[in-house]
């Protein structure tokens, strides 16, 4: 995973609340079991007037010339709600989006972002309003965007900054995990029932 360094980009505004993962990528655009080949399907319901023919809707923000190469997206509350499909994050990442600034995120989407090198930043609506449409610089180490401070969970920040794989991180504790499972097996054997397999 690519470490998240300092990022400067124009900020594409998508001023809606509750942008759901069905809209970010509809299930009919998820034609493979892999993480690639999804960028064309990104925001298909809004980006195209005819999704089959890929006829662009000129009103959609990412079809406007100044925002075509945007790496930062600004939106409203509860971004990424709905289906847990990680394809939503893979499609955004493959398209070139590295950072989403929103008033809040749905929890599964937020975790999916962190595990794919895409920075989800929570900021107040007023700050998002000043960033949208302009150029912004995200400094994740300092937790600032154009000088505005944002909060981020330490584990998420570390994974993004260092581009580390979460499985590798956790496997450093494999002995502690095994020890806990051995104890748990004695107190809650039904969780590990052989009959359950």
């Amino acid at each position: 995973m690519t470490p998240f360094a300092i990022l400067t980009s124009i900020v594409a505004p998508l001023p809606r609340d509750n942008v759901d993962t069905d809209s970010i990528i509809p299930s009919r655009e998820m034609r493979s079991t892999g993480k690639t080949g999804l960028a064309d399907g990104l925001f298909a319901p809004w980006r195209y007037t005819d999704a089959t023919a890929r006829t662009e809707n000129p009103d959609f923000v990412l079809n406007q010339p100044e925002y075509r190469g945007a790496q930062i997206l600004a939106s409203g509350a509860n971004f990424g709600c709905g289906s847990s499909r990680e394809h939503a994050v893979w499609a955004l990442a493959e398209y070139g989006i590295r950072c989403i600034v929103a008033e809040s995120f749905a929890p599964i989407f937020y975790n999916n972002c962190v595990r794919n090198g895409l920075a989800p930043l929570v900021l107040p609506r007023s700050v998002i309003g000043t960033l949208a449409g302009g150029t912004a610089t995200v400094d994740l180490a300092r937790q600032t965007v154009n000088g505005y401070h944002f909060s981020m969970d330490a584990d998420a920040k570390m994974m993004l900054l260092e581009g580390v794989d979460a499985i590798d991180l956790t496997l450093k504790y494999r002995h502690a995990i095994t020890d806990w499972q051995t104890k748990d097996r004695a107190t809650r054997p039904w969780i590990y029932l052989e009959k359950r397999t």
Binding site: N18, R28, N78, C81, A106, N112, R174, W190, L193
Partner: protein
């Protein structure tokens, strides 16, 4: 559906290679994950359970900590037996008193989301409590917890009680005898970061008007004056409009929210001896093969087909559009599902979510109708 064959083929091969039990398409126990896991006694009180599907929170109804994750987290769980989780805050939603006749768990959760918005549960695990929750049967509790994700909560959970233990006893994967789980309840005086109280008696049958579950109102109400313009345009509605008596093209009963035997029984009771409106396409999709067999054993399939409903094979079905079958272009659908997003049931399809009772009554009337 496009890509569906690759998905199934690769899943079968990967499960075989890793020694993972797969409930395949033709399995006797086939069904929607969140229907068959409780049915088979896979989810148990006090266990942690994760699945790469947002509606995994359904299974919190059994007193498990059950939540949805993405593919990368699923891979992490399988590789390490653990997940890295930031400790969530706690919220208790207490439903005091008793529900009025004709009001269901679906109405309870839609009312919560309408009052406190789709992002209202963010950062929290929600315990559902109170007399009206204790009074719900296990399947209704699953309906309530199912839509915790539409509230953006990490999960919903209900303390297990005698109803839970009775439900689990003798199920295929449940331990025998059952361990003592009676202490898996919130201590008196426990601290919650947030508490919401709702008077259950004040809850009316609910129906969504917009493109987010938070855009729901009592069926007797009107679309808000300040309604979101995008949602109104997509749904073909006007601010101030009544939802009652709005003509519908499709009535759909199914999904992990409302496709269990008790849901089908209540809907069947409302359509028995009647016939659907001529212009309405009406569908019933049981949540699992076991639900389908049980419903057929008591003749519910005949009640539905005699009333002009289609009786389908079990599964997720048309809760979401994946590129295969859809409803006729521009359909207005009254649906017992959980999501009314733009395009969720097909491009341009307008979805109103509601209880199976409202769906059944609306199918007969041809218009959105309270049971």
């Amino acid at each position: 559906m496009p890509g569906g064959d690759a998905f199934i083929t690769e899943t079968r091969a990967a499960c075989m290679a890793a020694g993972i039990t797969l409930f395949d398409v033709n399995d006797f126990d086939q069904g929607i994950t969140h229907v068959i896991s409780p049915e088979l006694g896979i989810v148990l009180p006090g266990c942690t359970l994760i699945a790469p599907d947002s509606h995994t929170c359904t299974q919190g109804a059994l007193g498990a900590l059950a939540w949805g994750i993405g593919s990368s987290e699923a891979e992490h769980a399988m590789a390490t037996g653990t997940l890295r989780v930031a400790k969530p805050k706690t919220m208790r939603v207490v439903y005091d008193g008793h529900l009025r006749a004709g009001v269901t768990a679906k109405d309870m959760i839609l009312r919560l989301i309408a009052d406190h918005k789709s992002g209202g549960g963010q950062g929290h695990i929600v315990e559902f409590a109170g007399d009206a929750v204790r009074a719900l049967d296990m399947e209704a509790r699953m309906t309530l917890c199912n839509m915790a994700t539409e509230f953006s909560a990490m999960s919903g959970i209900i303390a297990p009680d005698d109803k839970s233990f009775e439900y689990l006893r003798g199920r295929r994967f449940a331990p025998d005898p059952l361990p003592d789980w009676a202490d898996l309840a919130t201590d008196d005086g426990a601290f919650f970061d947030r508490q919401i109280r709702i008077d259950a008696n004040s809850i009316e049958p609910m129906v969504s008007w917009g493109t987010s579950p938070e855009q729901s109102i009592a069926i007797s109400g009107t679309v808000p004056r300040n309604a979101d313009a995008n949602a109104l345009a997509y749904m073909g509605l006007a601010a101030g409009q009544r939802l009652a008596n709005l003509p519908v093209d499709v009535a759909f009963i199914g999904s992990c929210t409302n496709s269990r035997l008790s849901d089908l029984r209540r809907a069947a009771a409302l359509v028995e001896g009647k016939y659907k409106a001529a212009n309405v396409l009406a569908l019933v999709v049981p949540g699992s093969s076991a639900v389908k067999r049980a419903a057929e054993a008591e003749g519910l399939d005949r009640i539905f087909t005699d009333a002009g409903f289609e009786w389908r094979e079990s599964g997720c079905s048309l809760c979401f559009y994946s590129g295969g079958e859809s409803f006729p272009q521009g359909s207005r659908v009254i649906s017992s599902t959980n999501r009314n997003f733009e395009g969720r049931q097909g491009p341009g399809i307008r979805t109103h979510i509601a209880s199976p009772e409202i769906v059944a009554a609306s199918a007969i009337a041809g218009r959105i109708t309270a049971p």
